[in-house]
Structure formats: structure tokens, C-alpha cells
Subunit: 285 residues, 2 copies
């Protein structure tokens, strides 16, 4: 009986609960200034924006509202990337694409349609969301400096002058951002994560922790690339594979990465999005 | 910027996060069939009922809706008692009592007014809530058998024949139920817990864990009385005092009580309610 907005909240809560999720805050590990309860408050604060997404409000406005609410706690950025994946997916559950109006199911096609249908106004609202919270991002390429997300609302005139939709913005970031890659390609890793979560046995957070390791082993985390460079990101992915192979205790890897402040946040975002899709498709908690 | 319904959800999340909370599910301990994520799903499911309470819907209907949503997970009863405290407190934040209409503050007086203003329809909705989930309760006194809450909707004719309001129902249960005692006396332990939580330092869940021990040491838990008898409940309270005095590790007490299946649930309900009042009065997370 949960609504899509409620399933999105439960997905975020199960994601942060899942342990060990090496390098990320989970129910057993946290950073001194970024604690478990900050994620709880982030989920509660995001609820109104998630409901706006479900109700058909413009994606950009819904996302900005979700971030504004999420940021009402002392930990800073808790779920920016996860909400950036969840908002279009929540919208896709009620999207009335002509070709799929008869189906209630959440599919990559419906999600891709929502992403492709974004507007310039969605892009400007996305930039405004950066006014509410500090998000670690890479320097943009030289020809993209006017579009640096860290400029927040100051970048709006450049967005409008170039008539860039939110989809267009993400197309320009696929090289450095795993969330943008999902947006422009029908959310393939999200849906693959959902399938894996549904296929595994046991408590949902335990499945989520396993899928986190699988995703991390599969591709370097772009948030780690941003903060620590490509070499470190590749090393972390290799370690995740060793953990999956049973030759490294995932808890030891988790302690090590938290100690070094290496936080594969994009992989966690993908797990949250995968949990949401799985819940929408009937996963029981 | 959180609404009262959102603060109620955050209170429930911070309560279950707080550790150690001897005998109860927390972020470090759970029972095989009652896990941490069941509490997360319970909070998400309760949100619509909490919003109904804030919007001024009848208390009984709001509570029944909260329980119906809470029960949409596999763990069974997660937050029945906590929601029974939270629903009138959420309502009190928007209640327009003549004598206090000018104040926005959540006070014992406003909460007492909400409780006193309940109707027979609130009582019948409360009984219907028991249809959604199994709740451990004591046998009623012989002259109250027709009003046994375990009869659920079957007890409604008896409620209506006797014209009992929800307040009247709780007046008849004060001897055996710590939640009922709060309802009929202006929520004194709830507001005292809120004051303690606000006065302590450190992360909010750590404060909640401390106040849990203080409340438990202060009075035997009525849920433990129901399930294990008065003597065990007194022994648990004595152990909580020893832990507060520093002569027993609270984590060891937590492990011991979980092992024995002794769950001071009413004390946890009071902590959740106290967290809500503290959040409404400006506690930062």
C-alpha cells in the first residue's frame, strides 16, 4: 500500500541501513560530522519533493524541493545523488507516455522518457538546488565553466541562453558522473541492481550491501574519482572484487575506507535507486 | 522547516537508531523476526496517518490509518504504542483550544485538551486499529471483558452502548498501561523526557539512549509487566539504575535482555514521544 514517494523514502532508509557498505555511512559506521541520523533527517526532509515528483510537478522543481528539505540537518549533503536518481524514477511511475500509458510498470523505457522530456526550467531548478547544500563535484571542462554547477543560480542565464534542458546538462557530464550516465541511458545500472536485489535472499539491507559491493567491483565510483582521482577509484573497485571473492573481509575494507575518508557515494546512490525499483516491483521488507 | 508529521517520523527514526536501548531493537541489535528495517518501513507507512492527525482529522481515524500503514511490513507490531502517543501530540500542534489559540507552542495543556476532547468514534477507530496488527496486551479485568482490545471491531457495539470516548477507554487502563497513563495526565513523562533530551549534549540518538535508561530506571515498563510480570519489570528497572550508576555496561544489559526476549517497549514509546516534543521545540539533528 506504500505510494511511490513512500517507497523512495524506504529505499533511502534501507540503503543507509545496509552494512557493511565500504566507505559509506551505514548503521555500523559514520563520520564525526556526517552521522547516521543526518541521513534519517535527510529522508524525512526529502518527502515533500518526492511527493511533488509523483504528483506530476516539474522534475526540476520537485528535485530542488527534495534537496531543500534534505539539507535541513547538520550533516550537509546526505542524499543529493540518490535523490537525483529517485526523482525521475518516482515520476516515471505516474508518467503518461503515449506508448506506455496502458502499463503501470516501472520500466527503463518509461524512465528514459521522463529524462528525455525535461525542460530548460528543469535545468535551472537543478542548478538552484546547489544553493541549498555543498556537493563535491569535479571542475568542468574549460568550455563549460559558465555551466559549473557550483555557480548555482548564477549559472541560470547561461543555461537559458544556450537553451539547455536537464537532459542536455547530463549529456555534457557523462564522462565524469555516474548519475548523469544513468539519466541519459535509461538507468541501466539502476535496473540491473533492482534485478539483483530481487533475486537475492535474506533481509533487504543485507541484499543491498551485497549489491553495493558488486556495483563497486564492476565500475570505478565517479564520486571517488572526483575526490581522490582515477587511480584510487580503480584500486577501491579492485578491493571490492577481492571482497566479493572472499579474500578480504568487507568489514575490514569498510573500516579502511572510512579511515581514509574514501566514500563511494555514487555507488550508494545506485543502490538506493535499485532498491526503489525493486520495492515498486513488489519486494517485501 | 519540517512539519509536525515529519518531526514525528524523525522522532521514530531517531528512537530506533538510538543504541544501546536495552531489550529493544536498535541500530546494533535486533530479533530474528523483528529487524531494524521493519521499523524503517513502519515509520514510512505511518506517515499518511500522521499527516491526517496534523490536518485535524479525527484522532481515532488518523491513528487507525497510521497503524494500517505501519503494519505493511513483515515484522508485525513495530510502533503501535509510540504512534498512540504521537498522534495526539501531532494533533496538539495545530489544535485550536480557545484558551491557548494564541500560542503555537506544544504544551502539556494542549496535549491534555486533545486527549479530553476525544469521542466515541475515536474509541471505535482505536479498536479497529487492532485488526491491522497483533499487539501484546494484558487480560482486562473481569467486568471489562467486552472491551478487550483484542476483540478489535467486535468490541465496537459495547463501546457504543456504553458511550465510551477514547479518553474513557484509557482511564480504565491506567493501572496496566504506561501509554494510557500519559493520555489521561497531560503526558508528564513525555514532556519530562523532551526536557532531558534538550538539556543533554551530543548526537540526538545518544541522548535518546541515555533518557531511555533514565525512564526505565524511574518506573517499571508496563509492556514488560504484561509479557513477563511485575517482578521481572522491577528487576529490569533496577538493572537500568545500576547501568546509570556506572556499575553495569548498558551494552551488556542490552545483550542480556535481547537474549531473554525482554523488551521494554513502553519506555521506547515514551522516548519517541519525548524526541518529537523536543524536535517541535527546536532540537537540531
Amino acid at each position: 500500500m506504500r505510494t511511490p514517494a513512500e517507497n523512495a523514502q524506504l529505499a533511502l532508509l534501507c540503503e543507509v541501513t545496509a552494512t557493511p557498505k565500504p566507505g559509506n555511512v551505514d548503521r555500523a559506521r559514520e563520520y564525526p560530522d556526517l552521522r547516521f541520523e543526518h541521513f534519517m533527517a535527510g529522508v524525512v526532509g526529502a518527502s515533500e519533493g518526492l511527493r511533488m515528483a509523483a504528483a506530476g510537478d516539474p522534475i526540476g522543481r520537485a528535485f530542488e524541493r527534495a534537496i531543500e528539505g534534505m539539507a535541513d540537518q547538520r550533516g550537509g549533503n546526505t542524499q543529493f545523488g540518490a535523490l537525483l536518481l529517485l526523482v525521475p524514477l518516482v515520476r516515471a511511475t505516474s508518467d503518461e507516455d503515449e506508448s506506455s500509458a496502458s502499463s503501470e510498470e516501472l520500466t527503463p523505457k518509461r524512465a528514459a522518457h521522463v529524462a528525455a522530456a525535461t525542460t530548460v526550467a528543469d535545468a535551472t531548478a537543478f542548478y538552484r538546488a546547489f544553493e541549498h547544500v555543498d556537493v563535491a563535484v569535479d571542475d568542468p571542462p574549460t568550455d563549460m565553466e559558465a555551466l559549473d554547477v557550483r555557480r548555482g543560480a548564477d549559472a541560470v542565464p547561461a543555461i537559458e541562453a544556450r537553451e539547455l534542458t536537464l537532459y542536455d546538462v547530463f549529456e555534457r557530464s557523462v564522462d565524469r558522473d555516474g548519475v548523469a550516465r544513468e539519466w541519459v541511458s535509461g538507468f541501466p545500472r539502476t535496473f540491473a541492481a533492482a534485478d539483483r536485489i530481487a533475486a537475492l535472499d535474506g533481509p533487504v539491507p543485507d541484499r543491498a550491501a551485497r549489491v553495493f559491493l558488486e556495483l563497486l567491483a564492476d565500475e570505478p565510483d565517479t564520486f571517488v574519482v572526483t575526490n581522490h582521482g582515477e587511480a584510487t577509484a580503480r584500486e577501491v573497485s579492485a578491493d571490492a572484487q577481492v571482497a566479493l571473492d572472499g579474500d578480504l573481509d568487507p568489514d575490514a575494507l569498510a573500516d579502511d575506507l572510512v579511515e581514509r575518508g574514501i566514500n563511494p557515494g555514487t555507488t550508494a546512490d545506485l543502490v538506493a535507486a535499485g532498491l526503489f525499483v525493486a520495492l515498486e516491483r513488489g519486494l517485501d521488507v
